[in-house]
Amino acid sequence: MPVLGVIDPGNTAWVLASSALVLFMTPGLAFFYGGMVRAKNVLAMLMQNFFSMGLVSVLWAALAYSLAFSGDGKWIGNLDLAWMRDVATVSPTGFDLSIPPLAFMAFQLMFAIITPALITGALADRMKFSAWFWFLGIWLILVYTPVAHWVFSPAGWLFRRGALDFAGGTVVHINAGIAALAVVVVLGKRRGWPRHPMPPHMLPWTLLGAGVLWFGWFGFNAGSALAADGIAAQAFVNTNMAAAAAMLGWLLFERIRGGHATTLGAASGAVAGLVAITPCAGYVGGMAPIYIGLIAGALCYFACSIKFRFGYDDALDVVGVHLVGGIVGSLLLGFFADAAFNPAVTHEGVFVSGGSWELMGDQLIAVGATILWSGVVTLVIVKVLDLVMPGGVRVSEEDEETGLDLTQHSEVGYSLERV
């Protein structure tokens, strides 16, 4: 069993601070999404995200952390660290940590909280809260845990192959993005979509949420260095540059095609850039994050209109931003990964002198495997829940019309009416 190395106070401080930053992203995401739904569903959207902090935390302590990070199985971990046994004293398998294992456990927990929360954007306005409860728990164990093990654990098969994912391009974004698509396939469209307009009810929330996400993402990416070192600083700068460039990329195409630079476009572009830089954050440098951001901003802008062509109601564009952004980032890493910025890069990207297509092959396998596993298993989970739960996973037509805030939570978001 791996035992503790020397604890570095600086590294520990940064990872603990980063954990708090990443936790803050989930309420940030809640407001990013919450502003985009209709006023009658704002609380339901906030609640689905907020609730993830509750349920996932408990499941993480009981089971999921151990399944993801303990044991040397290629496909899934073991239960040695389940029920919080030995978590404080035993390192996760394959990591040579300079921080307390509990700091690692807490940091990884925050990723497990936000990943399923990302899915809520797709299923907005029509899923029962009870269905979300069951889906969240089952998805965490059956989808998030194995994929995190494959990619993040040195024992996992994708990690062993040499696929690179600095902070979760596959584990977090592609995983949630494809799951979002699978959920809406079973769930169906919102009543009246796309015939009736369902414009965002409060874009200021969305801008605020995007700002919180950007802020928290420094913990997400730079914290993934698991140390307060040069790689963390590189990841920090890369994160900011990619978000900035992607905002410009999105707005540029929006201006050319639609005539206006919109606030929703600025927020969405920034998030698309943050998604795309996530797998690359500690493996690239120089101008690469800016190129990655520009490409991601432009491609995600165009990707958001695909749903109208294929007729799937991914309400808040989880596919367009997270699936597409995650794929863009994971594959661009095959071009830009550079050992000059991180010695962990053993096969450099195509655009780096001395680089090859070797890494790209592993990146494609990692992307494909995540899409396949998450897509198929999510589809099965939602389908089974829909059959097992009385009345299915979707609210009644009347409840959907009334709004989820009142029907699922017996509350309203805004009581501004005077009569």
Partner: protein, 112 residues
Amino acid sequence: MKLIVGIIKPFKVDDVKDAVKDLGVQGLTVSDVQGFGRQRGHTEVYRGAEYTIDFVPKVRIEILVDDGDVDRVAQRLIDTARTGKIGDGKVWVIPVEQAWRIRTGESGTDAL
């Protein structure tokens, strides 16, 4: 008695209120409403997707007047609310059978 009902552009509300007050109108009621006429709606763009919003915000103004004042008040309302551009709104008049002032119990034109 008649009830003058006007659907007007929201930014004209204050002008109309002041103009009819000058004619001696003692009270009126306004409410925020939405609808469409020849102006149709407007277009909003979210993440590249265009939405046509069919209903435009307007203000509904209701003024209860004596039969003899109808034309004067309605005409002043129309003149004040007009911009000459599409979407200026409409005015119509409805006969009113009876009216009471709740506080005093007065009825008919005394209640106006």
